[in-house]
Amino acid sequence: MNKELTIDEAIDKIQDGMTIMVGGFLGCGNPHRLVNKLVEKGTKDLTLICNDSSFPEYGVGKLIVNKQIRKLIASHVGTNPETGRQMNEGEMEVVLVPQGTLAEQVRAAGSGLGGFLTPTGVGTVVEEGKQKIEIDGIEYLLELPLKADVALIAGQTADKFGNIEYFGATRNFNQLMATAADIVIAEVEEIVEVGELDANHVVTPGIFVTHLVNGGAI
């Protein structure tokens, strides 16, 4: 089974108005080529779920600058002034979520959980509108799963079935987002034959991956 697509075929899977997840942390582990192609294509009115909105000229930050995002769900937007501007002027809806909660929301969606209880955010504005549940004298917030139509993720090496190894700190949200979208497109630096990866080192099992794009080394 070969899941490989050209980068154009891959980005054509994303339609105006869809919800997408993009792996990465301040650009580290963003699938840069997929993001660049999405910027080039100009697909719009997207809901973007990502840890952050990176920097204006780096990674997912470019999608914000190019005004393709209608709604952003992220934990941090401070490194991209354009996000703040669009938020303050009402051009883009921004939902800020504690980072650990965001990670777990994605994990919950991919793991068949109806939600989870976290102490993070109790006593802050994060608790507004959320159910509070006390267990053994500790208050928790009920947080719900978060899924997407398409996830764009970045890996180091994949085999043709989509088993993926990562490098360095790029794993962050990629490993989680690979489980939580209807279509999962992975950009990797190298694609090898099935059997060439050491099963002990594979982090994302290929069953999660719908399509692969061979990026070559960045």
């Binding site: 942390f25 934990s75 650990g100 990670a103 993070t120 006593g123 994060v126 700190a169 962050n172």
Partner: protein
């Protein structure tokens, strides 16, 4: 002291609070400087919330690898024995009480141990990033900051900005002293001998409790 000396002084004092074997998360800015003064011979495991333990120094120019960055997005290195992991594992470590101390800056902190450090409504809304999880989950929360913001008081009776977490702060270290947040209020335990107790109180809105065994700052 100029501001750089002040920051170094604060970072040095916080570094002395760390023990062999501690897992520690250092926030961006002043808290990051704590890593320059870690106790000699002690194994301190620096956790980076973007997904690793064993945070090493910034690489020499030309050796940067953009796949290894810290939570501020800067290129760093990983020490021998370090490990990478995903964000869910990272925040499992943080919320699960496996981080011994988190060191963060603050916009405001109050005598109930409340912390505000993630937004100023109408002005600055960078987002909370991992701060809410860190402050909620770490065993000890230490605030490392300048005592005032150009004279405006930051250690208050009650925070007025949106909170990062309620009742989680344990220690506050500034250029003026080291304070512990207790049930009774904020206790001044150590003082920089360049200041008097009166001066520290004047720069603090909350009523300080002066420790019976008030010491000079242990730098």
């Amino acid at each position: 002291m100029d501001r750089n000396e002040m920051k170094a002084y604060i970072a040095k004092r916080v570094a002395k609070m760390l023990h062999d074997g501690d897992v520690v998360n250092l926030g961006i800015g002043l808290p990051t400087q704590v890593s320059n003064y870690l106790p000699e011979g002690a194994n301190i495991f620096l956790q980076s919330e973007n997904g690793f333990i064993g945070l090493g120094p910034v690489p020499q120019e030309g050796n940067e690898d953009w796949r290894i960055t810290n939570a501020g997005g800067q290129c760093v290195t990983i020490l021998p024995g370090g490990v990478f992991f995903d964000s869910s594992t990272s925040f499992g470590i943080i919320r699960g009480g496996h981080v011994d101390m988190t060191v963060l800056g603050a916009l405001q902190v109050d005598e109930k141990g409340n912390l505000a450090n993630w937004m100023i409504p109408g002005k600055m809304v960078p987002g909370m990033g991992g701060a809410m999880d860190l402050v909620t989950g770490a065993k000890k929360v230490t605030i490392a900051m300048e005592h005032t913001a150009k004279g405006a008081k930051k250690i208050l009776k009650e925070c007025t900005l949106p909170l990062t977490a309620a009742g989680q702060v344990d220690f506050i270290v500034t250029e003026m002293g080291l304070m512990e947040v207790t049930e009774e209020g904020i206790v001044l335990k150590e003082i920089n001998p360049e200041f008097t107790v009166e001066q520290v109180q004047e720069a603090t809105e909350a009523k300080l409790i002066i420790a019976d065994d008030l010491k000079d700052m242990q730098i």
